[in-house]
Amino acid sequence: MNIAAMVGMPGEALRVPRSQWRQSLIGAVGEAFRHHYDNNDFYRAQCEGVSPADITGYEDLHKIPLLPVGMFKQAGAHVLLTAGLAEIETEIRSTGTGGVPSVARRDPLTTTRASVGILGGYRDFFGISKGAGMFLCPSTAEVPEMGMVKVFNLMTAMLDDHRYLVRGYSFDAQEALDYLRGWEGRMTRHIIGPPFIVARFMRFLELESIPLTLDPESMIIMLGGWKQYTGRSISRDEFNAKAQRLLGVDPSRIRDMYGMIESNMLAIECEHHRKHVPPWCYVSIRDITDPAVELAPGKTGGIAILDALNTAYPGFLLSDDVGEVDESDCPCGRTGQTVRFRRRRQGAELGCCAVSIEKYLDENQLVAECELVDAAGRP
């Protein structure tokens, strides 16, 4: 399968026999490596001792030199570009707790491939083509360059109606409930957002003892991580149990995703809660102390992603995330790799769009509560 076929029909590409998946991956990643090696002076300078001729088999993929994702935050980020700025169409960013944004620049070909590929992934994993989506995040109009929101926004193409419920960095759970009730009996209702805002909504239902049962085909679709800016983690098992109890959504229809704005990898959970790496990406787990060493599937280490879609800059990235990769067959029938995120690398900032939203939500809530106290205290 070539890259166009993978992007156009990711469902098929994820179900080919393992040997064919490997062959397609070597072809696509090898071609991408050659493109950047030939056209990016900075990247070629990082490739000491490795050239495209050295990448002939699956076991060679780990030899492709990686760029640390921290480079996307640096002022001299122009050196990362294989395409010139004149060819750049979109700039997507993510801001973590440190405040410095990571900016990923994509050219038209990369933007088209990523949009089509992600939409194809949504169709394959969720099978949604109608219904209403309650998005518990800001709209793209409010934060046009925020990666997480951009990825969520693609989902609106599959829905008949949708609303964004975080506005001006505040979230009104009652308003969200009103929308869900308004759609009741007319459309299948889905909830989409970062885990912590979905958890906030469920906490509201629980504290107010509000009964709410969504529809048999309703889904909860999430992205953004399970660790809050305060450092507190949300337990997935507790979350699933609560969603089943308070919203009537079966755990098999609660799906999380994993990705990073610098990459075109969006790993989507199947009904068995395994996050499938898209067919155009290879996830390589690296020894934390020596990133040149690739660890075997099942071992925990630094997550590196080799992304064949990107023509704007080399999508061969060493992330700040720690986790594992699994190459065993998934009961869902998909082949390839699945990835599991465990935590951020020690010393790395807690960084993603969801963390920023949560921080501002809390700050806004604090301001609102202070104003209430002030108003109450006035004579």
């Binding site: 921290g70 935050k73 640096q74 002022a75 001299g76 980020a77 122009h78 010139g84 700025l85 004149a86 750049i88 169409e89 700039e91 960013r93 801001t95 440190g98 405040g99 410095v100 944004p101 900016v103 620049r105 934060v143 046009p144 360059e145 960095y169 790395a348 900032e349 920023s356 501002y360």
Partner: protein, 134 residues
């Protein structure tokens, strides 16, 4: 024919940034950041006879903000502090060779940091920016 997304001026300054870095022992430093989108510009400058004698930048964020910070170092050099204080967004858009609607916030950021530089010099303030590209 479609309009290019970035002007020739922005492409030039993004690709070949001028006066990038921090001056040692500057007379004044001004930092402005957008807490939501994360764009940040830090200017450090030396002032002589009420005018900017030397200026350097550090910036993080979108391509237009990096380019505008570089453009500012060229344009502000030699400018009086009164001129800095009077700088408006339209002037920065003009210097940038035009900014697309979704890049206009960068002109605001540029004008804000120039105003802050003038104000900080008057008030004897040197901003210590929180920027670090970790």
């Amino acid at each position: 024919m479609t309009m290019p997304r970035f002007s020739a001026e922005v492409i030039d300054h993004f690709t070949n940034p001028r006066s990038c870095g921090r001056l040692d022992a500057p007379d004044v430093a001004a930092f402005v950041g957008n807490p939501v989108c994360g764009d940040q510009i830090l200017l450090t400058a030396r002032v002589c006879d009420g005018a900017v004698a030397e200026v350097a930048f550090e910036a993080f964020g979108c391509s237009a903000s990096l380019a505008v910070a570089s453009i500012l170092t060229e344009r502000l050099s030699g400018m009086s502090l009164a001129g800095l204080a009077a700088l408006d967004e339209d002037r920065i858009v003009d210097w940038s060779g035009g900014l697309a609607p979704d890049q206009r916030h960068v002109a605001t950021l540029g004008a804000d940091v120039a105003h802050r530089l003038a104000r900080n010099y008057r008030d004897g303030v040197i901003d210590d920016s929180p920027v670090s590209a970790g």
